[in-house]
Symmetry: C2
Subunit: 367 residues, 2 copies
């Protein structure tokens, strides 16, 4: 006679009206109980909660989203998950958001068309109430859409004007890496980084190059343009680039790779050419990915996981915040040098300046 009282074999799930009937109250009262129980007498509250329990009632997320006008979900867009740094950042984001009972809508983009489609999905009006964008530069069109959708958004690993962001000081990082090499007495420095992306503003790789050049200039060291190589962000591409650089008549005694992935390629190149590291060649990376410690790569540490947490916190405060919608608030996280086994003094023969009283360094556990 009654609608199924236990939720066991129920064809149709119980609704708020079923609960109201079961508890002998109105739907408004049940709704109030569901949302914190304000302005409900203790006795009624008990009765409603009992009814909820007895019916195994679970509210419909869609109905709530519809009537409230917004869902309880946060979107995360990122490049494909092949890059370890993206994964590390994502981990931080997920950690923080997951503890705040938000749904996380993950979207990865690889191609331009995917990207466009995603963006439309993302801006669906009642779809998301917040967005984190990892390592993707927004196009002008995308910015416009984001502003129009009035969607709270935080960028991570990029810092477009007019939006809140979490990033590092890549220029300073490039300087830190380069100064580490300079302190060993290197004067012949090479750089390997990503290809420039003209459609976007400065990339992190480009900024690291700027820091490299700054540090060189400050030390009064000139540039050999053949030793500034820009390739696709991949181990093998970097290996090819480094090999070319190292095959020249004169070659650098140290190479700063703008990412650990590319540093790995440089190490490959050194191995192929029979150069010892750091005996013949010092190699410096950037990021401090997990494998950096494994291979003993000297690098600049950036707080990847923490950056994700930070972006998530920033977004949450934005969403709950007063309302100033899309001003910018750029968080810059600290970096530090992580010296390991792939950097050392330049080889004695080319050490015409300081630092060269002893050419034999105590390394040698690397090949």
């Amino acid at each position: 006679m009654e609608p199924v009282p236990t939720s066991h074999g129920a064809r149709r799930a119980n609704t708020i009206r079923d609960v109201a009937r079961h508890a002998g109250v109105g739907v408004g009262t049940v709704s109030r109980v569901l949302n914190g129980g304000e302005r409900v007498s203790a006795e009624t509250l008990d009765r409603v909660q009992a009814a909820i329990r007895e019916l195994g009632y679970r509210p419909s997320a869609a109905a709530r989203a519809l009537s409230r006008g917004v869902a309880s979900a946060i979107g995360v867009t990122a490049p494909h998950l092949t890059s370890p740094s993206v994964v590390a950042r994502l981990r931080g984001v997920v950690d923080t958001l997951g503890n705040n009972s938000y749904d996380i809508g993950l979207a990865t983009v690889e191609t331009a068309s995917q990207r466009e489609r995603r963006m439309k999905q993302v801006c669906q009006r009642d779809h998301l109430n917040g967005l984190i964008v990892i390592s993707l530069h927004p196009t002008a069109e995308e910015r416009r859409q984001l502003i129009e959708a009035e969607l709270p958004v935080v960028f991570l690993d990029v810092a477009p004007e007019g939006f809140p962001s979490v990033d590092i000081d890549n220029t300073a990082g490039g300087r830190i890496a380069t100064e580490h090499l300079l302190e060993f007495g290197h004067t012949a420095l090479g750089f390997i980084g990503d290809l420039p992306e003209p459609e976007f503003e400065f990339t992190s790789s480009a900024r690291r190059l700027t820091g490299f050049l700054d540090a060189c200039a400050a030390a009064g060291i000139g540039q050999n343009l053949d030793w500034i190589v820009r390739v696709a962000h991949a181990r093998e591409a970097a290996a090819v680039g480094a090999e070319t650089m190292l095959r020249g008549a004169k070659r650098p005694t140290a190479i700063f790779a703008a990412s650990d992935t590319q540093a790995l390629g440089v190490l490959d190149a050194a191995r192929r050419l029979g150069l010892s590291v750091p005996g013949d060649l010092s190699v410096m990376g950037f990021d401090d990915l997990e494998f950096a410690e494994l291979v003993g790569l000297s690098t600049v540490h950036q707080p990847l996981v923490e950056s994700g947490r930070c972006a998530a916190d920033l977004l949450l405060s934005r969403m709950s915040g007063d309302g100033t919608p899309q001003d910018d608030d750029h968080v810059v996280l600290p970096l530090h040098l992580e010296p390991r086994g792939t950097t050392g003094p330049p080889p004695a023969r080319s050490t015409h300046t300081p630092a060269g009283k002893r050419g034999d360094r105590p390394t040698g556990h690397h090949e």
Copy 2:
């Protein structure tokens, strides 16, 4: 006089009724156009599409979910993203699902309470229309909930009875790894794997141990129980376990670690004890994570990314499928040996007759 015709400064977003009015048709017609344009005349279709474009109309996901009774989202639950194998699987899942215009709801669980909360979220009735569970054994209660929610689900890296799953043959994998060591002539084999988890059925690590034992038995080699060590799934824990094993009066000439991560710990232990690899000790891993190639670790390759794709495909076919709701369909992906630099013949001095000549500890039933 019209409601705001461009979507620019609109306070209130355009709804399907606005579109209908603008195009001079009924809402039903607009809905039909939105869902593929079946049973709509070409002329009307044009007019409606024009209206949609002119108003910048975007349908509300929540309203659609509510009236259809189901959203267009697929959930993915996984352990925290610190494990590289989980990340690799996730990548495969996301790749495939992303190309099918599903939203992906990602939830990671770490603690038991998180897990319980997630499960409730996940089973919200109109929340998801599919679920992929990565590397998490379902409890009895969770199975019950899943079945009750009638939610299509695919398990990945575990294979609970009664649910579709994608997995590998871990026992066979353990056998493959062990046979590789046996072929080199090793007769003193150690094993390092995860702690048993009594609350769940057999874990993959336990199955790999079974394969190890099978292969040993088939080769007529007895077991030294001190050489079967089970520790937390972490590099350092494995290092400690391996060190203990290798410090004994007699020590194995080869160790099979049930995961690459643990194999890394074994390598640490060897280094600390001054043992050369593979000269004094062969080390065998499992998984073929990215770093395995970096450190030249011999291992068993399992198709991680592909397993994610496979699970996603399976789920999609389940969701669109006829209806047989939750029968089981266990996909088993192939494995292969990936021999690298950490395995080789046993040291010469111990190459005399098999380990247990004195039969003190090994319960050898050989000879």
